[in-house]
């Protein structure tokens, strides 16, 4: 592969509200077993990219723990590797990453020292399975300076969350607006870009001179008429988890066989394997249309829900239409409906949490309270 990878995992994902108190958006658990960043890492690894840097600064503990070894994604051989870059103090710089472009600027040496002609930039919270080789072929075929992966969306409401592009008949981007109030087209930028490495270095350098720090707002949009920016249409499954609702919906998508099969088919999405024992179901358990992760012990009822690893569900407890993150203890007789229960929480005996349909309630901060 003639590209290196950059995964942008630094944002604070305010749309995820309380869920990002504990972790960055890219570290959000997905589908009962993975984390969001596994999709970017696996897509790169599966496409033959050997060298990947993760740029991160917001609440990085959880993400760093996840990235404790590169081997899960087949990185970290003699050739290439997986790097995590966080802001550091240097003689010339004492800033945090002021934006996506600044994050790249501050790690310019990484780009300069490579020899691969291209860089794939991937937002850490985008959930899909994409063959980046095909996108790169397209990039070369078009003679593009920058290629942006795009997806047609049906919902106007959805479009407000993304960059929206307009293209000419050759798929060249002629209009690009970031999170518009009213979208002109139905074409959303997926947050995956390919750009020529030396050009990226120039553009980022130049943005820094202008004291501009955002990759999309300060580079792609202003350069759209000067550089050849092409849209690469992707028609597979794609979700971005930048709001509580989209996070909830994305996890619920994994109750669909086609979605699960997509990600478990070769080449698979890889994640850190923790060698937990298999899930155990005791007397009184009743599970319907749900996913149950490794190391769970189930004594109660679960329906239409996604339960992550090492969750304990007590006798008589009922869980409906909910997402239960890892390590949570749900005591006997508790009732949980339309909720996202944070990781390592403790729901007390007979306690009830009921969220609204389509507006899941985030349950957190229970541990450590007086019982």
């Amino acid at each position: 592969m003639r590209a290196i990878g950059l995964i942008l995992a630094g944002g604070n994902s305010i749309g995820l509200k309380d869920l990002v108190k504990k972790r960055a958006g890219a570290a959000m658990p997905i589908g009962g077993t993975c984390r969001a960043i596994d999709f970017g890492l696996s897509n790169m690894s599966n496409s033959g990219i050997r060298t990947v840097a993760v740029l991160t600064q917001y609440n990085t503990r959880s993400l760093n723990e996840h990235l404790n070894s590169a081997k899960w994604w087949n990185f970290g051989r003699k050739h290439g590797g997986l790097y995590t870059f966080t802001p550091t103090l240097t003689r010339d710089n004492n800033w945090w990453f002021r934006g996506t472009a600044d994050a790249i600027y501050q790690n310019m040496l990484f780009l300069r020292r490579r020899t691969e002609p291209y860089v794939v930039i991937y937002h850490g919270d985008c959930i899909c399975k994409i063959d980046l080789n095909k996108m790169l072929e397209y990039h070369e075929e078009k003679g593009a300076d920058i290629t942006i992966a795009v997806k047609h969306l049906d919902s106007e409401n959805e479009l407000k969350r993304f960059g929206v592009v307009e293209t000419d008949e050759n798929n060249r981007v002629i209009e690009f607006s970031e999170k518009p109030m009213k979208a002109k087209t139905d074409t959303a930028s997926m947050g995956i870009y390919i750009i020529n490495r030396t050009l990226l270095m120039q553009l980022v350098e130049d943005a820094n001179q202008r004291e501009r720090y955002d990759l999309v707002k300060d580079i792609f949009i202003p350069y759209k008429d000067v550089k050849n920016i092409y849209a690469y249409e992707f028609d597979g499954y794609w979700r971005n988890i930048n709001t509580v609702e989209s996070y909830y919906d994305t996890n619920m998508d994994f109750l669909r066989r086609d979605v699960r099969r997509l990600f478990t088919a070769e080449p698979t999405i890889k994640t850190k394997i923790e060698d937990l024992p298999s899930a155990k179901f005791n007397e009184g358990s009743d599970v319907k249309n749900s996913l149950i992760g490794s190391g769970c012990i189930v004594n109660g009822e679960v329906s239409d829900s996604v339960v992550f690893k090492e969750v304990f569900i007590g006798k008589g407890a009922v869980i409906k239409n909910s997402i239960i993150l890892n390590g949570t203890y749900i005591d006997e007789g508790a009732y949980i409906e339309n909720c996202i229960v944070e990781s390592r929480e403790r729901v007390a005996k007979n306690e009830e949490f009921i969220g609204k349909e389509g507006e899941p309630m985030v349950v957190s901060g229970l541990r450590g309270r007086l019982e």
Binding site: P277, K280, S285, I297, V302
Partner: protein
């Protein structure tokens, strides 16, 4: 390279009493508890005890073991400094010999052990399910200045004649050693786990090198004892299971689904590591029913399962009912099939509308010493056509078709074993 202690894990045995389950894999490779294989327990014990150099001796049907162990990644034994080495028998100039006994196998690998200049060698067997901190055993070995320490556990005295028995004094010093005695003088059974001082191991193996079928229990231990070496027992009173027969194998699996199993694999302080083929969560359909089960990662359950242990990536189709059974990884059970008290190995395909494990028990026509506990046993890669009925004490191996059954039935005690049944 210098290592204070290295482990030698004997994994070459067939485990013939497991019938078709060990047709094409050695007993240590047999799956256990859903996602594990038996050898995962001693291997995990090694790494959890801080032993990072393990030689695994293979002989019988090693393919499954080789691909399971690989370079040792799941146990962090893929190390530049020690790690795991698979040690099959090999040809020497002017000589080629299979491993003819446990001690003979170790003898043939003296040079492997020598290369680590160990002070102590831990001898293990890959046949048992247990959790043990070998570091404690080593501590006790050092504290007593022992030449040999034998791990032993108390067994009911009436069963003692099945084991090598250690008679020990109050200081745990071995005062007598009896191999499968008729009238045992103690109930301390040797677990086949030994720590030897390296020089003692080396010299006694060389001394006994011409012994036919040289075995630790039968030859080396008695030889060392007769020569007055300092030998001690290390008492172990926790869970330890030799899952050597179909019924003990089945029972040991079923024990895991107790509310708090005696052998607790959910204890995070002593993890069992394995090569995982599935890590995705288990999926349950709208129509599924599940009670008292362990279900491996990546499985999809659309039928009813009860009192069963399922491996990874198992598919139970709609309307199927599985009870009191062990279904190993990657096996598919077709719609509306009923399975009662069966052991179904990996990569099997059971058709739909079958009825398995029914009728009165009858003596096995294949081998009544193996198939005698009412179980239906299917070997790796077996295929069962749609709509057949299969009785108890039966054994199936291979891709069977409807022509293999008489009136769509295999009555109790029957068997179908086809050549090339595997894969």
């Amino acid at each position: 390279m210098k290592k204070e202690v290295i482990a030698m894990l004997l994994a070459g045995g067939q485990g013939s009493r497991l019938g078709v389950l060990t047709q094409d894999m050695a007993k240590p490779a047999v799956p256990y508890g859903g996602k594990y294989r038996i050898i995962d327990f001693p291997l995990s014990n090694c790494v959890n005890s801080g032993i990072d150099t393990v030689g695994v001796l293979t002989q019988y049907q090693p393919l499954e073991l080789n691909s399971h162990i690989g370079i040792g990644v799941p146990w962090d034994l893929d190390s530049n400094d020690g790690g795991v080495a698979v040690l099959p028998p090999y040809e020497k100039s002017g000589d080629a010999a299979w491993y003819s006994g446990t001690a003979n196998a170790i003898y043939q690998n003296l040079s492997y052990m020598e290369s680590y200049h160990p002070e102590y060698v831990l001898i293990l067997s890959g046949d048992h399910v247990y959790k043990m901190d070998y570091a404690r055993m080593l501590d006790s070995h050092k504290k007593r200045n022992a030449d040999i320490t034998i791990a032993a556990m108390p067994v009911p005295i009436e069963e003692a004649s099945r084991f090598g028995i250690c008679v020990a004094n109050e200081q745990d010093r071995i005062t007598d050693f009896e191999e499968k005695p008729e009238k045992p003088h103690s109930n301390l059974a040797s677990m086949g786990i030994y720590i030897f001082n390296w020089d003692v191991l080396k010299s006694s193996l060389i001394k006994k090198k011409d012994q036919k079928n040289c075995d630790f229990g039968k030859h080396i231990i008695p030889y060392c004892f007769e020569n007055g070496l300092d030998m001690f027992v290390y008492k172990f009173e926790d869970y330890w299971k030799d899952v050597g027969t179909l019924s003990s194998y089945w029972e040991a699996n079923m024990e895991l689904i107790d509310i708090v199993p005696e052998f607790n694999i959910y204890d995070s302080s002593w993890k069992t590591y394995t090569k995982t083929s599935g890590f995705e969560p288990v999926f349950y359909c709208k129509e599924s029913k599940v009670e008292t089960c362990i279900v491996g990662e990546g499985s999809e359950i659309c039928g009813e399962i009860k009192n069963s242990v399922l491996g990874t990536n198992v598919i139970i189709e709609k309307g199927a009912v599985v009870e009191d059974s062990i279904i190993m990884s990657n096996t598919v059970v077709g719609g509306n099939t009923k399975i009662h008290k069966a052991i179904i190995a990996e990569n099997c395909v059971v058709g739909s509308n079958c009825n398995i494990g029914v009728g009165e028990e009858a003596e096995s026509k294949l081998n009544p010493n193996i198939y005698n506990s009412g179980l239906t046993t299917m070997g790796q890669g077996s295929v069962i056509p749609d709509g057949v009925t299969i009785g108890k004490n039966t054994a199936i191996l291979g891709k069977t078709t409807i022509q293999d059954y008489i009136k769509k039935e295999l009555p109790s005690g029957g068997f179908i074993v086809k050549a090339g049944g595997h894969k």
